[in-house]
Each structure stands twice: as C-alpha cells, then as structure tokens.
Amino acid sequence: MDQKSEEAFRAYVTARSGALLRLAVGLAGERAKGEDLLQSALTRAFVSWSRVQKADDPDAYVRRIVVTTHLSQGRRKRVRELLSFQVHESLGHEATPGVDDRQALLPALRRLGPKQRAVVVLRYYEDRPDEEIAALLGCSTATVRSQAMRALSHLRELPELASYRPVSTSWELP
C-alpha cells in the first residue's frame, strides 16, 4: 500500500472506529471480543483497501467485512463454554466500567447464534432494512425475518424484556 492510501486508511479508521467498534461489540457480545473482531476486520480492510476505496460506499464495504468476519469466526469457533461466573469475573477483563456490567443484554446476545446476533444488531441497533441485511448476510429476506423472530423468542426470556412477553390467554370450562 502506498503512503497516500495508508493515510486514507488511517483517516477512515480514525473517523469511523467508534461506530465500527459498537457494531463489532454488538456482534461479538462483549467488549474485548468486539475489539478483537474489529481488529481482524480492519486488518482485512487494510489488505483490500484499494477495493474498499473503489466501492460505491466504502463504509458499507468495511461494515460488511466486520459482519462476514464475525460470521466466519463463529463458524470456526471450537470451544464450548458451558457456564462460568467467577472465573471470568476474576480474569480482570478491562471492559468499560459500568457498561458491560450494567447491561444484561450483551451476555444474553451471546446465547444467540452468530447469524441471529448479526440480524438483531443490524435490524434493531443499526436500523438496517431487511433487504440490506439479507444482502450483507448472503441470505433471503425471509431468512432474515425468521432469524429475527427466533432471536426475539430467545431474548424474551431476558428479565429486562420480560414485561413485553405476549400475554397468553386461557379458558376454563365452567
């Protein structure tokens, strides 16, 4: 990469790294993993920067790299965490104070599959239309909708969202 392109890359990352980090943390479900995801995605973006610059919407191109990196990491994931509380807390993760701990949503998102998590974040955080999400994820809009519905049904178990559960009605015979 020549110096001019590298400067353009630096300028882009400086301007957009905050928004990209928020997307990456939403996809990864936690701050540290989100930072790693963003780092991997930006490395890919650096390598293919000439293509990024030529794209109609370079920012959309990089966000697509973030999402596809997230999905490919999900496919490669080989370690199954069953449950852990104290050990993770004691490892001293340098999460932003108060943010990760205050919100139960990010841990809940980690219970979703990578694709469902991507749909949730793109649909409800980035407010992307289903057509755009489908194009990003390489699937149909029907799949986006069904993944969103499944994700919502999982997340309904979250205490903070429990009051929004649909009320079930029952009838008793006299």
């Binding site: 905050g18 069953l82 852990s84 001293g92 340098e94 949503l105 919502l152």
Partner: protein, 281 residues
C-alpha cells in the same frame, strides 16, 4: 415495531452507544495490516497461557478460537525468541503490546511478572535462552527453551492470523496437579459426566451454577459437545491445576474415543464448582 422490539432497540442503544474506540485502534490496524501483507500460510492453534513451578502449572490458561496464521513463519520465530529473552529480563511490554485485546485483558503485566517470578523461584536463575522452534502440536505456536539453574522450561507463544499474540505458555514437561484435595473432586465430576450421572455431577456446583445449569442441560451439553464430537470417554490422561486470581482451575485432559478433550473446572475457596468448560486440548 412491537413493544418488545422497541425495548430491544432501547437496550441495544443503552449498551452500545457509550462505547468509544481506544486511541490505539488506528495504529494497531495499520500495524496488523502491514504484517498481514507480508505473509504466508500457517496453521491453526489454540491458546494456552500458563507458568510452571516445581513441576506443576501455577498460573493461568485460556483458549481462543483457532484461526490461521498468515504471518511469515521466520518472523514469528524471531519474535518469539525476542519475547522469551524479554521475559527472562522481566520485560513484558513488547509481548503485551503484541497481544489481542482479550488476551491483554486476561494477561496483565502483574500476572506475567508473578508467573515468571514463580518459575524462577522453582527453577533458579536463567543460564541461557535457546533458539525458537515450531511447536510440533500447534504450528502457529513457537517455543523457546530456556535453560535455568535447576532445569529447562519452554516459553511458548501462540499467534492468530494477523500475527497477534493470543497465548503465552511457560511450562515444563510432566506438569502435574499440585492440589491433592480438588483432584479427586475433578475425577469424580468427570466420571459422573461420563456415566450419565448428571445430577450427581452437579453435587459440588455453587448456587449460581446450580440454577444456571440444570442436570438435563448439562447432560445435553456433555452428549453433544463431548461424546458426539470426541467419542466416548476412555480415561483421564492428566490433571493440571492453575491458580487464577484466587480461584483454582483444574484442567482434566481426557482420552476420548476419537481423540482428546479438556474438561476444565473452576473452584472457589470452599471447593464449590464455579465454572465448567468443555474445551479442545
């Protein structure tokens, strides 16, 4: 949009909007990108971080998802040798700078210094630092033998696809458990899982584990993640004990029908199980 969807949107914004990227993001991205352009193919690795004293692992271990290294092998070897030399001089700055964010968060400078101090207390002063060689089991991992007054330890460093450090291990061959009280508990827990006694396996779970991991879910996870993937349980090959900031973590390396896997169990001070993992070895 339903009320549920609105609430979800609000929660997402409340969780994510306050996040700001760190000042190093741009330079890290440029550095990793430059490294990536020099690169070649490597192979997958899992991460392990540990230090060894008196024949037993005493520091820490962790895992990361495997990814392929595309950094030139010779450069990784040279870097590993430099990190090992730095570590023997109690300098962990460059090593931590090269770590991924999550590895850096888990492996504080204090933890590394303390681990190396324990190695020195067990093995004595450093006599010489050898050349880096590929680790046979994990091709993205390089190790450097360090000859010390009372024996030799290996400093192993694992890298991800961008050449970032995802693990540091200091160990000697034949590390064994140093906790005679918890080792039988770990053996019993694994035996219960292997025999399908999932309720019994939860006997030492603390309240949070007990409420979060019912017996049927534990059984399902064991069958899917252990048995289906690795085959039936054969025996425990070894158990190592690690101290992670006051918690005792035992790693039982299990021989399974189709290979090996690790059952990692975390205990609190009272010996109750506070974490359970099924991991790749």
């Amino acid at each position: 949009m339903t009320e549920m969807e609105s609430a979800l949107r609000d929660h997402l914004h409340a969780s994510l909007d306050p996040l700001q990227s760190g000042p190093t993001t741009t330079e890290d991205a440029v550095r990793a990108g430059r490294r990536r352009t020099r690169v070649r193919k490597g192979v997958a690795a899992t991460m392990a971080v540990a230090a060894v004293g008196l024949g037993s692992v005493v520091l820490f271990t962790s895992h990361d998802s495997g990814s392929r290294s595309q950094v030139a092998s010779s450069s990784l070897g040279a870097r590993t040798a430099a990190y090992a030399r730095n570590l023997t001089n109690d300098d962990v700055g460059a090593l931590r700078d090269a770590m991924t964010a999550s590895t850096r968060a888990a492996l504080t400078a204090e933890l590394l210094h303390r681990g190396w101090a324990e190695v020195k207390s067990a093995y004595g002063e450093v006599r010489s630092v050898g050349a880096a060689v590929h680790d046979g089991d994990s091709p993205d991992t390089w190790r450097v033998p360090v000859t010390m007054q009372n024996g030799t330890v290996n400093v192993r460093v694992s890298y991800n696809h961008a050449g970032q450090v995802i693990g540091v291990t200091v160990l000697s061959a034949g590390a064994t458990s140093s906790n005679p009280l918890l080792e039988p508990a770990t053996r019993r827990l694994v035996a219960d899982l292997a025999a399908g006694r999932y309720t019994a396996a939860r006997a030492r779970f603390d309240d949070r584990m007990r409420s979060g991991l019912p017996a049927d879910e534990l059984g399902l996870a064991w069958r899917l993640e252990a048995v289906r993937r690795h085959g039936g349980f054969v025996r425990i090959a070894s158990i190592t004990t690690l101290q992670v900031k006051g918690n005792t973590v035992q790693r039982a390396l299990c021989d399974m029908g189709k290979g090996q896997m690790v059952v990692q169990v975390a205990y609190d001070d009272s010996g109750q199980v506070t974490g359970l993992f099924l991991l790749e070895p």
